[in-house]
């Protein structure tokens, strides 16, 4: 941690001192989330969502481990082990199952908000590019974990979702079909696929936890960004993480958990699909195969390519779907504006909100029925998505005029009069803007 005023760890309790002398874990925790981690004082609530993602990862791991004590990974027994054993006979089994099912949805929800925070405030920019990319790795692992987890109950959507998603690979010429068969251990999702998905579904969350540690470690080198995007200049700009942000994260987490509890206890099947309460039948396809809601935008992009053009439509769809996530890895180089925060980039800000609307439209289309209007809307929205990141953002970042930035975080937190107290005469800051009395947010 590179802030010189970070409080050093000074254990007062003899037991903590004893442990710390032998294994500096208390010191590491103190420096990461305790009083020893200086954080910009002006963070807003959009900064709470990283911790929330960590909370939901923990909920998923804990509920998942206990569910695995009762689950049977066999094509004959899986559906019954979930819907009879766990839901009816295991003590509190219904609670654990619904908590795990809806926990996945909430994990994705808070992660999406966390990602969009990063997009708006330029969190992906130097020197935090690796934090961003590790975050994308976490997201990819989450998608794999979520997909495999959904297959485990072996309902109709489990089976046919597995069929569709592994079918993506057969779009690739030559190597596609052999890869698909290798992934499944067979020609269609069956016992081999189910047991390996169970094994990997149990494993990947721990891999995610490891990458999360790297993600936080990479963040703590430069320290957290903030809504102005202006770097921390002095001690006055920061507050120790504990107790200021532990308190803020704590109360907000309780409120989000309240929302989570209301869904889990009162509408546990709202975000799911009724067809997954029908046992898997390889001979009968459901009327509308759709993945869980958190995959809908990608599903919409996939289905938008309906015409063969040099490459078959199916291959276009798969390439576009993978590209839609992979292009995010290049974002720090696509958007090279030296101004981080969207608050000071009015043109960028408008396009950002267009992107939000676009992703919401894509999400809606991914889950909606297939008719001419929806397909057309999806195609337009998918086109905008690619244009936004690959064409619009590079151009905007090159040609936009940004608003003048505040001199420091403290200055942006204070209003008006104090910001005049610069040496006599007007000065230009390094960024080319004049000293201004702008406020944050």
């Amino acid at each position: 941690m590179s802030f010189s005023w970070a409080k050093p760890y000074e254990p007062k309790h003899p037991v903590m001192r004893w442990i710390d002398e032998r294994l500096p874990l208390p010191r590491v925790v103190y420096g990461a989330i305790g009083g020893g981690y200086p954080v910009p004082r002006n963070l807003n609530y959009w900064w709470n969502f990283g911790v929330l993602a960590g909370i939901f990862l923990t909920i998923q791991i804990v509920t998942g481990i206990v569910l695995a004590m009762h689950y049977t990974a066999s094509t004959d027994g899986a559906f019954n082990s979930v819907n009879q054993l766990i839901m009816r006979d295991v003590n509190a089994g219904w609670l654990l199952r619904y908590a795990h099912m809806n926990g996945a949805s909430f994990f994705f929800l808070v992660t999406y908000i966390h990602i969009f925070r990063g997009l708006y405030y330029g969190s992906y920019k130097a020197p935090r590019e690796l934090v961003w990319m590790l975050g994308l790795v976490i997201y990819l692992l989450m998608m794999a974990t979520g997909f495999m987890g959904y297959v485990l109950p072996w309902g109709q959507m489990s089976y046919w979702g597995a069929q569709v998603i592994t079918g993506f690979f057969s779009a690739f010429p030559l190597v596609g079909e052999p890869i698909r068969i290798w992934l499944l251990g067979g020609y269609a999702p069956d016992q081999a696929a189910l047991t390996r998905f169970f094994s990997l579904h149990y494993l990947l969350p721990f891999v995610i936890a490891g990458v999360v540690i790297l993600h936080i470690w990479a963040l703590h080198i430069p320290g957290s960004s903030n809504p102005t995007g202006v770097d921390v200049k002095s001690e006055r700009d920061t507050l120790p993480f504990h107790p200021f942000y532990t308190a803020k994260d704590g109360w907000f987490a309780a409120a989000v958990l309240l929302f989570y509890a209301l869904v889990t206890y009162y509408a546990p099947n709202y975000l799911g699909h009724p067809d997954n309460y029908i046992p898997a039948n390889p001979l009968a396809t459901p009327a509308h195969i759709v993945p869980e809601w958190y995959f809908w935008p990608f599903y919409a992009i996939l289905r938008s390519f309906t015409v063969d053009f040099i490459l078959p439509a199916k291959l276009w769809g798969v390439l576009a779907m993978f590209s839609s996530i992979l292009l995010l890895f290049f974002l720090p180089w696509l958007d090279k504006s030296p101004v981080r925060s969207g608050s000071y980039r009015p043109v960028f800000k408008r396009f950002f909100w267009l992107l939000v609307i676009d992703v919401l439209i894509l999400g809606y289309i991914g889950g909606a029925e297939i008719n001419a209007r929806n397909v057309a809307l999806g195609q337009a929205a998918a086109a905008y998505y690619f244009l936004h990141f690959l064409v619009i953002l590079p151009l905007v970042s090159k040609f936009e005029t940004t608003l003048p930035l505040p001199n420091s975080i403290s200055e942006s937190v204070l209003h008006g009069e104090e910001a005049e107290a610069a040496p006599a005469g007007q000065t230009k800051t390094k960024r080319g803007g004049s000293v201004a009395t702008t406020t944050a947010h």
Partner: protein, 190 residues
């Protein structure tokens, strides 16, 4: 947020004592309340490991004993464990009653291990009380050991005709489960 002229500073300076205590109380209250919730949240995680409803439902088994002749026994299953049901011959009953209690490591009379009026029906778990092997002796031709009851081949525990431990490392007699006669020919175990 900050409408005052000065900004908040890192609180390494303490305010007036009373104010600090009053302010601390709210923080302590909030953290304690959350802590109670965290402990309560552990309850379902622990309770889910207790036997589930389907396992508890298999806790009683009915057995038809009409076909067991005196001198014969059957091995059946209750709570996924072996149960020996033996129809003792009068010779075996006499042998059991002749043993002085002082000779027994785990003193019990045959009458204590059977139902009144049905002392010929010996119903015990078929699990050796030493380390859990299934003793021999219930089936035709199996080794019944030096005391004519059951014999555990794992470490040599020998049980007598009332399934009481007589020799070898086992500490207790074969366990008699709760059971009752629903009729002359049906027994309900558990």
């Amino acid at each position: 947020m900050a409408t005052k002229a000065t900004s908040a500073e890192v609180n390494d300076t303490t305010g007036p004592e009373e104010g600090v205590r009053r302010r601390d109380f709210l923080n302590v209250a909030a953290v304690s309340f959350a802590g109670v919730g965290a402990v309560a949240a552990i309850a379902p995680l622990i309770v889910q490991m207790s036997p589930s409803a389907d396992v508890l439902a298999m806790a009683t088994t009915e057995v038809d004993i009409s076909k067991i002749q005196p001198g014969q026994g059957i091995k059946t299953s209750w709570r996924k464990q072996p149960v020996f049901i033996r129809n003792l011959m009068p010779k075996e009953i006499a042998e059991a009653n002749a043993v002085p209690l002082s000779d027994l490591r785990d003193p019990q009379t045959l009458a204590e291990r059977t139902k009144p009026g049905k002392t010929n029906w010996l119903i015990t778990l078929g699990v050796c009380t030493h380390l859990g092997c299934v003793p021999l002796g219930i089936g035709e031709g199996e080794n019944r050991g030096p005391f004519g009851g059951y014999f555990c081949p794992c470490h040599g525990s020998a049980y007598d005709t009332a399934a009481r431990i007589r020799q070898g490392p086992a500490p207790k007699n074969l366990t008699v489960p709760d059971y009752k006669f629903l009729s002359a020919t049906t027994v309900q175990i558990g």
